[in-house]
């Protein structure tokens, strides 16, 4: 496992060379470990596709580099063996997005085949980012890989299902966005009221790193 300093207060650990089922399970095990056994002095952590960032409190951990080797030992020993299997979330989708036909044409598929290709796979939530609850899902059928729009739309409605490069995902709230929109779900991926009701911010997010997702055509 490689590690790097990311400024004076953060360490970045690379746990995989490229995204894969093994990388996904490793990332999930690390996140579970950090959530279940919070380490003193850690103020935030962020998994990416192949790396995890750990941000330290400068007051409690003045020089995180000195602890890099301990952290590598800890992250290496994180294993998914004892974890329950990942949850599979079903996301109902109406495939009627404004870019669906263009995505199909580019893939040299009919619209129906495109819908079948997109909804036929079980995706992995590798990471969340861009906006609260925005999950980067892989691995997308290579035929559906579609470059992001050259000019992002200023407003993409909440629930829009899109394709950005080699990933697919759902916009949890109305934001600007450059992904190709192929459909829409009525499911609320980000609902802060659920967090307030339970006093646990994690409950605001329907999808979490380590989950699996399947899209169900409506």
């Amino acid at each position: 496992m490689r590690w790097l300093s990311y400024g004076p207060n953060a360490l970045l650990f690379h746990f995989a060379e490229r995204p894969s089922e093994a990388a996904f399970l490793k990332g999930r095990a690390i996140v579970r470990d950090l959530e279940t056994n919070p380490a003193p002095g850690v103020v935030d952590f962020v998994p990416g596709f192949t790396s995890i960032l750990i941000l330290f409190s400068p007051a409690l951990v003045p020089d995180p580099r000195r602890h890099a080797l301990e952290w590598i030992a800890r992250l290496k020993s994180a294993t998914s063996a004892s974890l329950p299997p990942p949850e599979t979330r079903l996301v109902p989708v109406r495939y009627d997005g404004p870019d669906l036909e263009r995505v199909a044409e580019r893939a040299k598929l009919s619209v129906q085949q495109t819908i079948e290709a997109h909804s036929g796979a079980i995706y992995r939530v590798y990471t969340l980012g861009f906006a609260p609850g925005f999950a980067y899902l892989g691995d997308l059928d290579p035929r559906l890989h579609t470059p992001r729009l050259a000019t992002p739309r200023p407003r993409v409605p909440a629930g829009s299902v899109g394709i950005g490069g080699e990933h697919t995902g759902v916009y949890p709230l109305e934001t600007a966005g450059g992904w190709n929109l192929i459909g829409r779900t009525s499911l609320r991926l980000f609902d802060p009221d659920r967090a307030e009701a339970s006093r646990d911010p994690r409950n605001a997010f329907l999808l979490k790193s380590g989950d699996r997702v399947r899209f169900v055509p409506q």
Binding site: L4, S5, Y6, G7, P8, N9, A10, L12, P19, V31, V43, D44, F45, V46, P47, G48, F49, T50, S51, I52, L53, L55, Y126, T127, L128, G129, F130, A131, P132, G133, F134, Y136, H167, P172, L173, E174, T175, A176, P192, A195, E196, P201, R202, A204, F205, K208, S209
Partner: protein, 292 residues
């Protein structure tokens, strides 16, 4: 406007100017869900506004963009205004007394971008994910529009002795944003992926703040960096990271920006120097300096 319905109603937004939002220290610890930390763009100035009044550092303050705001008091209250200069009708960086119907007004912007108003005990609002901080891009918090009423904490009234009246920040803390020092940068995770020509060009040329800059990120204009590495998978991005898209024009990711990104991460602006950057207006230039 003169009769206040709730005894905790403390201020009234007569005019939000170019933007008025409440900020506390934001939502740290939720980056893995895609929630940006948010919070004040200039924690130095916001921190002084609170400190002058003896407030805890996480007390919500009012963050104003550039110019034009008019904020009225609904009852007597101690306040402090810090940060960007925009022809305010009260002195900055010191405690001021407001009586009912007094109004703090801002005219044309002079220097800096972000101005802060704190009141004794802090403002309050309904928290979302544990914070009242406003991140407009991701629709967290609320924009304060004309006519909005802001509340004070219930027990804050008259909690300060009269002696606070003259309290002011030391002059060296009253920053002049027209002349930022060189900003210290750390190597980013992808520093080694950039050719030395690009790293050297980044550190040795002046960069101009683009008008396409906001709470999510400031874009830098200058001679584009040569041979920028290709974008890759989405990996974690810290606030203050200098990311470089393929066009070679750096973007500094800021408080409301994405928590992961695919552009190579060239450098990280030191947290202590970041407020100097965020207080730069479009057209102002900055230089970077490597940390030893």
């Amino acid at each position: 406007m003169k009769t206040s319905a709730n005894p905790n109603d403390v201020c009234y937004v007569v005019d939000p100017g170019m933007g008025a939002h409440l900020q506390d220290l934001g939502r740290p610890g939720l980056s893995r869900f895609g929630v940006p930390r948010g919070g004040p763009m200039d924690p130095h100035a916001a921190g002084w506004a609170n400190q002058l009044l003896g407030n805890p550092p996480d007390s919500p303050v009012l963050e104003l963009l550039l110019q034009g705001a008019k904020i009225a008091a609904l009852r007597p209250v101690w306040a402090a205004v810090t940060g960007a200069r925009a022809n305010a009708n009260v002195p900055l960086w010191r405690v001021v007394r407001m009586d009912a119907d007094d109004m703090i007004t801002f005219g044309a912007s002079q220097s800096g971008v972000w101005t802060y108003i704190a009141i004794e005990g802090g403002f309050v609002d309904e928290p979302v994910l544990g914070s009242v901080a406003t991140s407009p891009r991701v629709r967290l918090g609320r924009s304060l529009r004309r006519g909005a009423v802001i509340r004070a904490a219930a027990d804050s009234r008259f909690s300060l002795p009269q002696g606070v009246a003259g309290r002011m920040a030391p002059s060296k803390e009253q920053r002049d944003y027209r002349n930022p020092p060189p900003l210290r940068v750390w190597p980013g995770p992808d520093w080694d992926a950039f050719p030395s020509t690009a790293r050297s060009a980044f550190l040795h040329q002046p960069w101009t703040i683009s008008s396409r800059s906001d709470r999510s990120g400031y874009r830098l204009e200058g001679k584009p960096l040569p041979s920028t590495p290709k974008p890759g998978l989405s990996e974690p991005v810290l606030i203050g990271t200098v990311q470089v898209p393929e066009d070679g024009r750096p973007i500094v990711t800021l408080n409301d920006g994405p928590t992961v990104g695919g552009y190579p991460r060239l450098a990280l602006v030191d947290q202590a120097d970041l407020p100097w950057l965020t207080q730069c207006r479009s057209g102002q230039t900055v230089r970077f300096q490597g940390t030893a």
